[in-house]
């Protein structure tokens, strides 16, 4: 058993920031991560990191933009804290040596970005995330913070009182990938989950293969509800074979989208008569998919993004990295041919329900980064708002876990925050299939935190043994089934029948999962085992997304429902909560907090 004050699970931007902050405040921190820190997907972020740095800019403008972008589903305490602290965090990064792009006078550059009222996206070339990740890892090395890399966290050690708000998290169980050893990590002051996105719930995503929603699923099964899971951002221009992102910059520079008949469909089919290709992400994604579904896609799969008319000089000057991406990952020379693109899953707005300090309803459990939902992005995230989020909330959670925060959170969490029951109308049972899936641990009966952890470790050892020993099907079949149905039915377009179909398919996949087995008998670097466990997490996340999407009968932000084409503020200004409840999930709602520090945000028409 390893013992530390704070266990941080995941070492992307959010986890590293949390670890540094907790360490600065005297805590003994361990970073436990399934990938070496620099391999985290934060490294893929290109565009930039928003912060009101200029003297003409101010935090409340940033907060306002964020709230408007969220389609008024953000919670004001989180939004305000975010906008207020983002500038400090960006300057902090600079002081840690991040190589931001510079103006002639040596100050950091900022550029305009969609949905922002001021150019406040600070950037480091077209690889902001890469630099942010490496800069923070450097600081972790400098401080000598202990990193357990290639340790896969499989479960949390949580007591099992009936009410999740009475439960406590004492640590996590991790599997050392290289050796197959299962070990307990005891965290005196808590566990911070920072496991990133869940793009692998879809078969086409800009996310990494390791983004499997592990944190969300682990917290969910331990009793912490998932919030606003139906809000998934789809990016309109990703390469069809890999999902690699083709930056919005191409359309910004004048790139044009064509369908198979070489029609400029954004205009010719009237999707966006004013902005055309530059309409917002969700509009363009829906337009592309409509074309494809109506048979005007190329090879029934994608559309063309053409930038050849911009001329070689301009392309080489401003979009050179796009040429490399298209060539390296799709084998297409963008100077010579139009690039194939289609919408792909990009970002998960929802996640583990936490307050503005990153605390979940379970005592000692925190979540930060993309896996968390402090209700900052609400129904739609603005570009460049995720990286500052990692920093601000990573730091807040780190500070809180180190015992440095006295204030009480304004955002309420857990079942007691419930304002209203919900209903899903699912055609099938949801949640666990077998009894064994129901309980996190026997914590309620166990005396000491160590006992809780030991019990959790034992349970995981059993699970690993069973998976390796028994015969059965390959998890890849289950994963593929979920991914396909999610992309087919819970994509950009959401229709009641399709959502129900997805729930049926997920149920079937869950049943299939009962028979999965790991074929590789080895204890050494058994990725078969890791992927098999991940697939279980994907199932839970996919179900939560679909359940939320089916429940929310309106069109808000990234969530589009065919039969409900408007935003219904009277009825739906509330968060969708999805709780595990020992294997029998329950959907309910909690109110949105619009009263901020300075003002109360008034829902307005979201038009740009």
């Amino acid at each position: 058993m390893q013992e530390h004050d704070v266990i941080v699970v995941g070492a992307g931007g959010a986890g590293l920031r949390a670890a540094i902050e907790a360490h600065e405040h005297g805590a003994d921190v361990a970073l436990v991560t399934k990938l070496h820190p620099v391999r985290s997907h934060t490294g893929a972020a290109e565009g930039g990191i928003n912060a009101a740095l200029h003297s003409e800019d101010s935090w409340d403008l940033h907060a306002y933009d964020t709230m408007k972008g969220s389609d008024y589903l953000g919670d004001a305490p989180a939004v305000d804290a975010f906008a207020q602290e983002a500038p400090d965090e960006v300057i902090q990064l600079e002081h840690w040596g991040m190589p931001f792009s510079r103006e002639d006078d040596g100050t950091v550059s900022q550029r305009p970005f969609g949905g922002l009222s001021h150019p406040r996206t600070t950037y480091a070339g077209a690889e902001t995330g890469h630099h942010l990740l490496h800069t923070m890892y450097e600081q972790v090395v400098k401080r000598g913070i202990e990193v357990y890399d290639e340790w896969y966290v499989t479960n949390l050690a949580v007591t099992d009182e009936a009410n999740p708000e009475e439960r406590a998290c004492h640590g996590a169980v991790a599997y050392e990938i290289a050796t197959g050893e299962v070990e307990g990590f005891y965290g005196h002051d808590g566990v911070i989950l920072a496991t990133g996105g869940l793009g692998q719930a879809f078969d086409h995503t800009t996310n990494a293969i390791a983004n499997t929603g592990d944190g969300q699923a682990m917290a969910f099964r331990a009793g912490s509800p998932m919030e606003d899971m139906e809000f998934v951002q789809f990016h309109p221009t990703t390469l069809p074979s890999t999902g690699v992102l083709i930056s919005e910059g191409v359309r910004g520079e004048g790139g044009i989208l064509y369908n198979e008949a070489e029609e400029r469909f954004m205009f010719e089919h009237g999707y966006a008569n004013n902005d055309g290709e530059l309409a917002s992400r969700d509009v363009v994604s829906r337009a592309e998919l409509t074309q494809i579904n109506e048979g005007r896609g190329i090879e029934d799969e994608y559309v063309h993004l053409d930038m050849r008319h911009l001329g070689e000089d301009r392309i080489l000057n401003r979009l050179e990295n796009i040429l490399h991406l298209a060539e390296d990952f799709e084998g297409v020379d963008g100077l010579d041919k139009p690039m194939p693109v289609k919408p792909g899953q990009h970002y998960q707005m929802g996640g583990i329900e936490v307050d503005e300090y990153g605390q979940a309803c379970i005592d000692g459990l925190y979540a930060v980064g993309e896996c968390a939902c402090y209700s900052l992005h609400g129904a739609n995230r603005l570009g460049g708002n995720a990286l500052p989020e990692l920093m601000v909330f990573g730091a807040r959670a780190g500070r809180h876990a180190a015992g440095e925060v006295d204030e009480k959170a304004k955002v309420k969490t857990g079942p007691s925050a419930k304002s209203e029951d919900g209903s899903i109308g699912s055609p099938v049972d949801l949640g666990g299939v077998s009894e064994s899936e129901a309980v996190a641990t026997d914590g309620g009966a166990l005396a000491t935190p160590q006992d809780v952890l030991e019990a959790a470790v034992e349970a995981e050892r059993d699970r690993v043994e069973t998976l390796i020993e028994r015969d059965g099907i390959n998890h890849a079949d289950v994963r593929e089934k979920v991914q396909l149905t999610m992309t087919e039915n819970v994509n950009v377009f959401r229709e009641e029948e399709n959502l129900k179909q997805a729930l049926r398919d997920i149920r079937e996949a869950r049943e299939m999962y009962q028979n999965v087995a790991v074929r590789d008998p080895s204890r050494t670097y058994n990725t078969d085992l890791i992927h098999t466990i991940e697939t279980r997490n994907i199932l839970d996340c996919a179900e939560a997304i679909t359940a939320g999407a089916l429940a929310r009968e309106e069109f808000r932000g990234a969530h589009w429902r065919k039969q409900h084409q408007e935003r219904k503020d009277d009825e739906w200004l509330k968060h969708t909560m999805y709780a595990w409840n020992n294997g029998n999930p329950d959907l309910y709602y909690k109110p949105v907090i619009l009263e901020g520090d300075e003002e109360t945000y008034e829902p307005k028409e979201r038009s740009y």
């Binding site: 006078d105 040596g106 450097e138 084998g331 590789d520």
Partner: protein, 290 residues
Amino acid sequence: MSTQVTEKSDEKEEAESTEQSPGERRREEKAKRQQEKEAETPELIDEADETVELKIFRFDPEVPDKEEPRFDSFTVPYFEGMTVLDGLIYSRDNYDSSLTFRHSCRQAVCGSDALLINGTQRLACKTQMVDLEWPIRVEPLPHQDVVKDLVVDMEHFYEQMNAVEPYFDPDELPEEDREEQKQRPENREKIKLSTRCIWCGACMSSCNVAAGDNEYLGPAAINKAYRFAMDEREGGDKKEDRLRILEQEHGVWRCQTQFSCTEVCPKDIPLTEHIQELKREAVKSNLKFW
């Protein structure tokens, strides 16, 4: 629980022996297509039933069958734009789930999947199959211990990276709270390429000196040090410290300008140039004391 290649793939392998390898054919076709750029409709080749053979290194210290290293053949369907990583994933998911390799981002930023592909260190995700000779031979990075299949022990590489004090450490910071340190755009430009390193280890694996001398810092770590030593925000005192680290026995002097590091780096970092520049810097700073 067989770790053998499925029979299906073996059969295909036999049927696969034409005089001209598909790789050659496709590369020829690609060249032809490039010539015919202006021609109206470049002829579309039917790729529907084209397959690629991958010869993959296998080893597992624990599985009796795999204790002796060997190569397994997997024949996978080819599609346009297919990368070597796609081929590996297909083989694993469809033929043998025990096939083990690191991968994550699929877009050349995480640095997990540097492998020896047809004899050269490359990122599997960034390597188009068309650009290679077929069948494609995939091995773990040379000069590193193999943990299993294509997974090598990266510990030594990380240690070398950490040995150069790989973190920003300025002599002083601005007084004001929300004030950034100034950096001239030219200075940022100077360190730009060096900051792109994704820790894939390809360079280190390709360097013969690093293979011979285990303590040699290696191109990636030296490049990391370059990134800080050349950053004007750090200040002169720190630069002296950094040069002192680089100058030790197993530092920059070990480099014999083999250039293979520069050639394999997937981020096109001019590693040899950076190392050479540091050698000159070191000489300069030593001359100061004489």
